[in-house]
């Protein structure tokens, strides 16, 4: 199913679309205020972009350095080629400890690898401890946003879910009471957690340590209570030095939610006495993307979600319309790398307005990459046949002034003479779902010019 079909379903609920659009626009405005308040913000973006470009250009070296430093810290480092290998590795570590109760803080990588269903299928309980993630886990849904995974839900929806799963009072959708119910529920899970799994925001090659940014402190609680910590990261999470980190932490939260910094910026470098720490480094298609010159810059992404909040299409179509772990503009340039056929409609789910590129804190040329993916997809035959042939026909028409002049005259005459019901039939003319066609003038400009200016 294409993005446009799923999007049409979402936008059909006009009221909910308004709410979704305004909620995310509010976040975009918070981001704007935070950005305007930092005079050197544009320099920071440039700096962050260059640090990431540099890191990607020597990724192999930095990965080896990171591994060596982490091992010196007493951390077990594992490498996974793909999602299946990642999931098997994580399960293996859990089994070595005979653990069955896992607490997990937010990690888009484990979402990407579908770790939860894998663990559940092997009899392991895994609890997402980020509030938004927990809500969608209870509902068996995928996240609809990178940093606001349950942004597609209203408090009434959360109330229904908590009533069903946590036994809260039916119809009580007071946010504070709902949050408190989640807190009590999660507290018990934290205390029982044997292994804590987390994502990674930044991995520092120089120190071998990982940095995790959260607002709820759930990563810290999980990791510090459990005997074993497994941190899962994509190969692109690296930065060279600890002194580079400040550039990114200044950009990340401002771009994401308009906060100056996340509530918690936690550094995990070595395991405490008697504890174990593992880092699983995952490729899962990233080196393939690194090998695509037009698209490698997508690996600079620090997962702030700003491109989603600003995207006028995302705000009106919802994260699930993308049907990919990472939705929105950045998802639309990452997904075809994973499965070109399945995600072929995503690069077309954009007007190429360029707002995503302008908010991106690491200056990924998102809208240019969307344009370039379209070329790749068309060349690979992954665009609708009707579109392909109509473009070939239009190409011929527009390369010939005579054909163009005649075609234009025909179209205008047709529009004037044919009944409105026919020219505006939505079965053949999608323009007419909400719009009138322009009123065709008798004369085109070129006809007027020939008659009037007579050169």
């Amino acid at each position: 199913m294409s993005h446009s079909l799923r999007a049409a379903t979402f936008v059909a609920d006009a009221e909910r679309t308004t709410w979704h659009d305004e909620t995310l626009w509010f976040v975009r405005q918070k981001r704007d205020k935070a950005v305007y308040a930092v005079p050197e913000f544009q320099e920071l973006r440039e700096l962050a972009s260059q640090i990431k470009e540099h890191t990607l250009s020597r990724l192999d070296e930095y990965l080896k350095q990171f591994e060596a430093e982490a091992q010196l810290n007493g951390v077990h480092v594992h490498w996974a080629t793909d999602a299946a290998e990642h999931n098997a590795l994580v399960l293996d570590i859990i089994r070595q400890h005979g653990a069955t109760r896992i607490v997990k803080s937010k990690s888009m990588l484990t979402e990407e690898c579908h770790l939860n269903p894998h663990l559940l299928a092997h009899g392991i309980e895994v609890i997402d401890t980020d509030l938004g993630e927990r809500i969608i886990q209870l509902r068996e849904e995928a996240p609809s946003h990178l940093v606001l995974p349950a942004i597609h839900l209203k408090k009434e929806d959360v109330s229904d879910t908590f009533h069903l799963h946590l036994g809260t009072e039916k119809g009580n959708h007071d946010p504070q009471q709902l949050t408190e119910a989640a807190r009590q529920h999660l507290r018990a899970k934290f205390l029982a957690g044997e292994v804590a799994i987390s994502g990674v925001n930044f991995a520092v090659a120089e120190t071998g340590g990982v940095v995790i940014c959260t607002n709820e402190g759930n990563a810290d609680l999980g990791v510090n209570l459990a005997k074993v910590h497994i941190a899962c990261m994509g190969i692109e999470k690296l930065i060279p030095r600890l002194s580079d980190l400040g550039v990114f932490t200044r950009l990340l939260a401002r771009s994401a939610t308009g906060q100056p910094v996340t509530t918690y910026t936690s550094h995990y470098t070595k395991p405490a006495e008697g504890r174990e720490m593992h880092i699983v480094i995952v490729d899962n298609g990233r080196t393939q993307q690194l090998g695509r010159p037009d698209f490698r810059a997508s690996l600079k992404c620090i997962r702030c979600g700003a491109c989603m909040n600003t995207c006028p299409v995302y705000r009106r179509s919802g994260g699930h319309s993308y049907d990919f772990t990472v939705p929105g503009p950045i998802g639309a340039i990452l997904s075809p790398n994973i499965d070109m056929k399945k995600h072929s409609s995503l690069p077309f789910a954009s007007t190429l307005c360029g707002s995503c590129t302008d908010v991106c804190p690491v200056k990924i040329d998102i809208h240019t990459q969307l344009y370039k993916w379209r070329q790749v997809l068309a060349e690979a035959g992954e665009i609708p046949t009707a579109k392909k042939w109509s473009m070939k026909f239009t190409g011929r028409l527009l390369a010939s002034p005579t054909a163009f002049g005649m075609g234009g005259r025909l179209a205008r005459t047709g529009l004037r003479l044919l009944p409105h019901g026919l020219t505006h039939a939505t079965t053949v003319n999608a323009w007419a779902v909400a719009r009138e066609l322009p009123e065709p003038p008798k004369q085109s400009f070129r006809e007027w010019y020939q008659e009037t200016v007579k050169l």
């Binding site: 446009s4 999007a7 049409a8 302008d358 473009m391 065709p440 003038p441 400009f445």
Partner: protein, 246 residues
């Protein structure tokens, strides 16, 4: 100075008055622009659909048509942006490089090349400005809200110089209208909703005349205005600057 007028394909066919106003306004500013009759299109509709390869003959035709001129001027930021940015697909001969560098949006040509920053005229209406994203973010014709809170731009300044005009302050100053070329039909539902939201922002804030530098966005917005029979007149900015009365 040899100046050619490039009138985008759909403007030629559906909005001849925009071409006429462009020609007349340039004439008033002392520039006689020539309209080479063999011109067709910049190729953008194909390229944005992924069919850049099918657009190459159109690109070549564009370069052949306009290479003898010092400037190519078009009342469309979007087409100009396409020529400047995406004609990189052609072999970069001196002709191609020259055409890419000398193709200007009409407003940029008036302010940047001719150095005109105000125009005489009287337009006593509340005017809402809708810049195309390609004009705004692509050609940097105006400040972007992603970067700065200051709302400023060449067209805003030119329009402000008219007597009696009042410009609308929008809730969302530079949100895309949802036209997006073939996006307007391939994602018709979202495109329509984006356009409706844009129109409502203008109505809410008192716009009576909606204008901009790109007729493609305006065609889409006008289509919505006419379908919903809203009290908004839609004009290309060059029509206003050339002294249309309404």
């Amino acid at each position: 100075m040899r100046v050619a007028l490039f009138i985008p394909c759909y403007v030629d066919q559906f909005y001849p008055q925009v071409g006429i106003a462009s020609l007349q306004l340039l004439q008033k500013l002392g520039v006689t622009a020539h309209f080479p009759a063999q011109q067709t299109c910049c190729g953008q509709p194909l390229a944005n659909s992924g069919c850049e390869r099918d657009a190459l003959p159109i690109y070549r035709h564009f370069v052949d048509t306009f290479q003898r001129y010092d400037y190519v001027v078009a009342p469309s930021g979007s087409c100009v942006y396409h020529v400047r940015k995406h004609f990189d697909k052609l072999e970069q001969t001196p002709e191609v490089e020259k055409v890419r560098a000398s193709t200007y949006d009409l407003i940029d040509f008036i302010t940047g090349v001719l150095g005109v920053t105000e125009l005489p005229g009287h337009f006593p209406h509340k005017v809402g400005l809708h810049l195309s994203c390609h004009g705004q973010r692509g050609l940097h014709q105006a400040n972007e809200s992603e970067i700065t809170p200051i709302r400023d731009g060449q067209l805003r300044r030119l329009l402000s110089s008219l007597d009696g005009i009042e410009l609308t302050e929008l809730d969302r100053n530079d949100e895309c209208c949802g036209f997006g070329g073939t996006f307007c039909v391939s994602e018709a539902a979202i495109s329509a909703r984006m356009g409706q939201d844009r129109v409502q922002d203008h109505l809410r804030n008192g716009t009576t005349v909606l204008t901009g530098g790109d007729m493609s966005c305006l065609m889409h917005l006008q289509g919505i205005v006419r379908r919903q029979q809203l009290p908004l007149q839609v004009l290309h900015a060059v029509e206003i600057l050339n002294g249309v009365s309404c």
